[in-house]
Symmetry: C2
Subunit: 158 residues, 2 copies
């Protein structure tokens, strides 16, 4: 049951990733869930905004904090299609997120198990529960398709 | 000479830290320098904005990218009064900042030498040159004074 709910929210994160692909952004999407409901959703917008911090997770956390009227997001979960990088993993700890659920692993830059595990570092003042691999194949496929088309000089058509 | 220039820019970062203290924020300040000139300056605004990512470094990087009209900040330096946390260290790598200069070390959460060194991780696709300890005593003192007064139940008066 918990697994089905995780898949349901990850599918919403995947929809966000599709929106990123539609504007030629690397397709990563995220949603923040509080009390069983999505309160924030975002997708990678680095190129569109020209903002180096505009990863899906950062934008979703900022939106959730805006809705929550406080930076402390205790009790909330973040779903993201790709394993967070060190910036985003650090932000999850700072926001005191309870749970992180991600889809595909990122062997090149992942900071939640691949290169390191920043969200469960016992030296930091908060640790995040992690579930990996939810809809992992689908989350990975949208990225692979995007880069394959980009290498071929074609725009990605979702 | 380079040392004097670093001190000069760190003094501007300290001015930003003072502005944070004036609004009861943990006093950390940052400036971004391009071609020998400050193009962005910011201070910690986590409580004021309610944004968990509103550290001085993130705000300064975002402002620099806005001025630069691109997320890639090659050739630029970031000066910050406190050793960056993992979120901010990750953001410096993503923004392709050339050089990081910081004042005081952060033994509890510092990710540029204290707990780890994210900006010089050979597995990531960019590395940052680091100079530590510029005006370190002054940068540390403003933080110590802030927390001392806060523990005593007094507001910080810079």
């Amino acid at each position: 049951m918990a697994f089905e709910i995780d898949e349901q929210f990850m599918r919403e994160a995947l929809r966000e990733a599709e929106k990123a692909a539609e504007v030629q952004e690397v397709p990563v999407g995220a949603v923040v869930v509080a009390n069983g409901e999505i309160i924030a959703r975002a997708h990678n917008l680095r190129e569109t905004t020209g903002d180096p911090t505009a990863h899906a997770e950062i934008l979703a956390l900022r939106e959730a904090a805006r809705i929550n009227k406080h930076w402390r997001l205790t009790g909330m979960s973040l779903y993201v299609t790709l394993e967070p990088c060190s910036m985003c993993a650090g932000a999850l700890v700072l926001a005191r997120i309870d749970r992180l659920i991600f889809g595909a692993s990122d062997p090149k830059a992942g900071a939640v198990g691949s290169l390191m595990n920043l969200v469960q570092d016992p030296r930091l003042n908060h640790r995040v529960e992690v579930t990996a691999g939810i809809l992992g194949d689908e989350c990975g496929k949208i990225l692979k398709d995007f880069f394959k088309k980009r290498r071929a000089g074609m725009k990605y058509e979702p």
